[in-house]
Structures are given as structure tokens and as C-alpha cells.
């Protein structure tokens, strides 16, 4: 199994993947956390945002 993984992905692929994939997941979760913030009724027309979405 270990040989198959190294032969298929390569040592470089494993190292890059081990770092890039968790980081990518963490970044996507951060964006989702920001986007999913609750919207109180008075949020419309907030000076920092657009408002009506």
C-alpha cells in the first residue's frame, strides 16, 4: 500500500498534498465561517456592506 501511494503520488506529491490540502480546507472553512454570519434584521444598509442581498 505504502509503495503504491509513493509510486502513484510521489514523495513530492505527498509532501505538497500533506501541507496544501489541510491548509486549503482551513481556508475554505474560514471563508464559509465569514459568509455564514447571522444576519440581523437591521443589517440592511450597514455602511460597510451592500445591504440587500
Amino acid at each position: 500500500m505504502a509503495h503504491w501511494i509513493i509510486d502513484t503520488a510521489g514523495v513530492g506529491g505527498i509532501i505538497v498534498g500533506l501541507i496544501a490540502i489541510p491548509v486549503l480546507i482551513a481556508y475554505v472553512r474560514m471563508v464559509h465561517w465569514i459568509a455564514s454570519a447571522p444576519k440581523p434584521p437591521e443589517a440592511d444598509g450597514h455602511p460597510m456592506g451592500g445591504g440587500s442581498e
Binding site: 514523495v11 513530492g12 506529491g13 456592506g49 451592500g50 440587500s52
Partner: protein, 463 residues
């Protein structure tokens, strides 16, 4: 529905270039595209005929493509690192320039990575790093660090843009849905563009509504990224230096190379930021927001980095000069009095003498003064990268005959195309996205107004 929002002066200035395009802009785009096209044709020719059309040979396996790679990775530190440091230290004057800085990072990194593909000669060989990469190889560390930096820089560019994208979404709400544009009796380009842009901004804005909780989360996310990106950026250029430093080659195998590259990267990065900041300021008429304060403070930072660069250069050359290692002496002499002497003295003049002469006085830290100093530094730092690579490889320590490296038209055309593509992508980006972070500038103005009010209240006589 009529758009009842009344635009502020800042909004109008920042959003107008996104709505209207001048003839001069298209002329610049046309010239840059022509240079890119010539470079692309030359690159295809190189792919077909092989690296024999370049000046590269054995033992000069790296030439101006790797010079460009180090140069682009260096200027990529303009943005994210400078923006992150200024954000972490809460420098208020940073607000109008952070987006420009972050965009420079993004495009410089892409162009840097492309240089490697060009230098390889065969595109498929890039996969060798993945399939046959070795833990011990700095090349693998480099791919890892640059991938991580690109990923982080993209997010760091995107996060502060979300409120502005929502603003654009709301300003561009179309009267017709996208599907209905095609059914119009008379096809209208303007309507289509307007509708297309609205949907584009709507998707990227992620349903931003600007509630207090959402703003808090966004600022927390930006804060985390700002702290995270500083060590990543430092690691990137350190690892780039180790590609050279881990080789037993004269004047490469040195412990100073890591910090020397990082200092050089921040130095060339600030210079590039000055060049593009002034270009956008002039073309987009952003003078009221990008003003004397930015030029003065950033000019001092550039001057400090010039001093650091001079110190590191002196330390590196003096230490080598005092040694008696034959191969190192050969390379050093080639730089000080041999065929690379004009390059070496031009580098010192452009990176040290010119910036000091201009920026030491406050009168010099103006748009004109900083642009002259920055143009000199940009050229000087490219020469610095070249004088690290070429003199060493023409005098290798592995028993090869001394060689000569002369870049061919292919390499020069591809280099010119790379620089043109960098400028082209940068300009097109700011035709779609606002060049100034409107919400951050507004936030800064709000903070300044509150501080003023508080100072007035404290100064008022107590009853």
C-alpha cells in the same frame, strides 16, 4: 428599481474606472499585448526547437529565466508582506495602498512560477518534482512554500475585497436577468456587461450583508491571515535562496544568502509597489487618497531597506574577499574587475547611491522622486539577481572549462513578455476590481473622526 444610493467622492473615484474606459487605457493594453504575443511566439519556438535557442548550455544551466524567477518572487514580497506588517502594526496610512500591494504579490507569484516552466525546456518535467521529489532537495521545499504562499496570498487578497464586492453588486443591480439579455430585440453590449458584472460580483460577494457579527468575523479572518502570511513569505524567499545556498558553488554556499534574499525581496517589493501605486494613482485619479503621507512613510521604509541591502552586500563581499578560496576569488574578481564589473557597479549605483541621493531628504520623497528611485531599484535588483547567477555558473568548481553566457533574442523577448504580462494582468485586474479598499478607507476616516471628536471633548473646558 431606481438606485437611491448617493455615492461618496471616494466611491465615485474608485468605481468610475470600472465603468468607463479611456482610449489611452486600450492603447496601453494593446502595446503590452503585442509584447506578450511576441514573447509567446518565441516561447513556442523554444518549445519546438529546444533550449538550444537560448544562451543556456553546460555548465550555465540557469540564466536570465532563473534571474526573472528570483526577481518576480522577490517583488511578490511587496504586497502581502508589506501589507501584513502594516496591518499588524496598525499603520493607518496603509489603508489606500494595501490592495495594490496584495495584487502585486498575486501576479508576481504567478509570473515567478511561469519562469520555472519556461526554464525547464520541457513542460512535462515539472512533474518530476512531484513524482521523484526528494526530502533533501530545496527544489521540493520551494514548490511547497510557493504553493502555500500563492494559496495564502490569494485568500489575503480576496478577504478584504468582500465588502467592496458587495458594494459593487448593489450598485450594479441590473433591470433584466442575465437570461433575458439574449432575448432583447437590439443586442446591447452595455446591458450585457452590466448584467454579467452584477452576477460576477454577486457570486464573489458570498451574500455579504455587513452585519456587525459578519464584520467582526471578517476582521478576525484578515487578522489571522496577516499574522500567518509573514512567516510564510519569509520562508518563501529563504527557500529560494537555499536553491543556491545548498550548492557547493563559489559565492553561493553562504549562510548569509537567506536573510540577504529576504531583505532584497522586501526592498525590490517596496520599489515595485511605488511604481504601480503611482501608475494607478495617476491613471485612476486617486491623488486625494494616495498622497504625501504614503510617499513619505513608504519612502523612509525604502531608504531603510536600501541601507540594509548595502550592509548585507558589504558583509558578503568583504567576507569573501578576505578568504583565500581560489574558486570564490575567481568569481569575486569577475564581479569587481572582470567582465561582470559593469553589472556590479551599476547594481551598487542603482540600489544604494540613487535611492540615498533622492530619498534622504523629505523633498525627495515625492511621487516623482520615489518613482525615479524605485525604477532604479527595480533595474538594480534584477541586475543583483543576474550577478548572483551568471558569474558563479561561468566559473564552476566542478572542473568545467570557464564558460561565457550571452542571452539570446529568445530569452530577451520572453523576459520582456513576462514583464509586459505582469503589467497587463495588473491593469486588467483593476478594471474589474476596485484599486482602493473603500470600506477600509471609510473605516479609517471614521476612526480619525472619532479621535478628533474625543480630543475636542477632552480639550473643552470642564463645567
Amino acid at each position: 428599481m431606481e438606485n437611491v444610493h448617493r455615492e461618496t467622492e471616494l466611491e465615485r473615484a474608485v468605481l468610475n474606472p470600472l465603468r468607463h474606459t479611456t482610449v489611452q487605457f486600450w492603447l496601453v493594453i494593446g502595446v503590452l499585448s503585442a509584447v506578450v504575443l511576441v514573447g509567446a511566439i518565441t516561447l513556442v519556438r523554444q518549445w519546438v526547437l529546444g533550449l538550444g535557442v537560448t544562451g543556456l548550455s553546460r555548465p550555465i544551466y540557469w540564466g536570465i529565466y532563473i534571474t526573472n524567477f528570483v526577481f518576480f518572487i522577490g517583488i511578490s514580497h511587496a504586497g502581502t508582506l508589506i501589507s501584513a506588517i502594516l496591518r499588524v502594526t496598525q499603520a493607518e496610512w496603509r489603508r489606500p495602498i494595501t490592495r495594490i500591494a496584495e495584487a502585486i504579490t498575486f501576479f508576481a507569484l504567478i509570473l515567478g512560477a511561469i519562469q520555472i516552466l519556461i526554464d525547464l525546456g520541457r513542460l512535462d518535467r515539472v512533474l518530476n518534482v512531484i513524482f521523484f521529489g526528494r526530502f533533501q532537495s530545496p527544489l521540493l521545499w520551494d514548490v511547497t512554500c510557493i504553493s502555500l504562499y500563492l494559496l495564502s496570498s490569494t485568500l489575503y487578497l480576496y478577504l478584504p475585497m468582500i465588502p467592496d464586492l458587495a458594494r459593487l453588486r448593489d450598485r450594479m443591480k441590473p433591470e433584466l436577468p442575465l437570461s433575458a439579455v439574449g432575448t432583447l430585440k437590439r443586442w446591447n453590449v452595455e446591458t450585457f456587461q452590466h448584467t454579467w458584472r452584477y452576477h460576477f460580483y454577486r457570486i464573489l460577494a458570498l451574500g455579504w450583508h455587513g452585519s456587525a457579527e459578519q464584520v467582526r468575523r471578517l476582521e478576525r479572518g484578515i487578522g489571522i491571515m496577516a499574522i500567518l502570511i509573514i512567516p510564510i513569505a519569509v520562508s518563501v524567499h529563504t527557500v529560494v535562496s537555499w536553491i543556491f545556498g545548498m550548492n557547493m558553488q563559489p559565492m553561493w554556499h553562504s549562510t548569509i544568502l537567506g536573510p540577504y534574499f529576504v531583505v532584497g525581496a522586501i526592498f525590490s517589493g517596496i520599489a515595485t509597489l511605488f511604481l504601480f501605486m503611482t501608475l494607478i494613482r495617476k491613471a485612476w485619479h486617486l491623488e486625494p487618497w494616495i498622497g504625501p503621507k504614503q510617499y513619505d512613510y513608504l519612502g523612509i521604509l525604502l531608504l531603510v531597506m536600501s541601507a540594509f541591502w548595502g550592509y548585507f552586500t558589504l558583509a558578503e563581499y568583504l567576507t569573501t574577499g578576505y578568504g583565500t578560496l581560489v574558486h570564490e576569488q575567481e568569481v569575486l574578481q569577475a564581479k569587481l574587475s572582470g567582465e561582470y564589473a559593469p553589472w556590479f557597479y551599476a547594481m551598487v549605483f542603482l540600489n544604494f547611491v540613487v535611492p540615498f541621493a533622492i530619498l534622504i531628504r523629505r523633498r525627495g520623497r515625492t511621487p516623482v522622486g520615489t518613482v525615479i528611485a524605485s525604477a532604479a531599484i527595480a533595474v538594480g535588483m534584477w541586475i543583483e539577481r543576474f550577478t548572483i547567477i551568471a558569474p558563479t555558473l561561468t566559473r564552476p568548481s566542478l572542473g568545467y572549462e570557464r564558460a561565457i553566457y550571452a542571452p539570446t533574442f529568445t530569452e530577451i523577448a520572453i523576459t520582456a513578455a513576462s514583464l509586459a504580462l505582469f503589467a497587463l494582468l495588473f491593469l486588467l485586474f483593476f478594471k474589474i476590481f476596485p484599486a482602493i479598499s473603500v470600506w477600509e478607507v471609510e473605516e479609517g476616516e471614521h476612526i480619525a473622526a472619532v479621535k478628533r471628536k474625543a480630543a475636542e471633548l477632552l480639550a473643552a473646558p470642564q463645567m
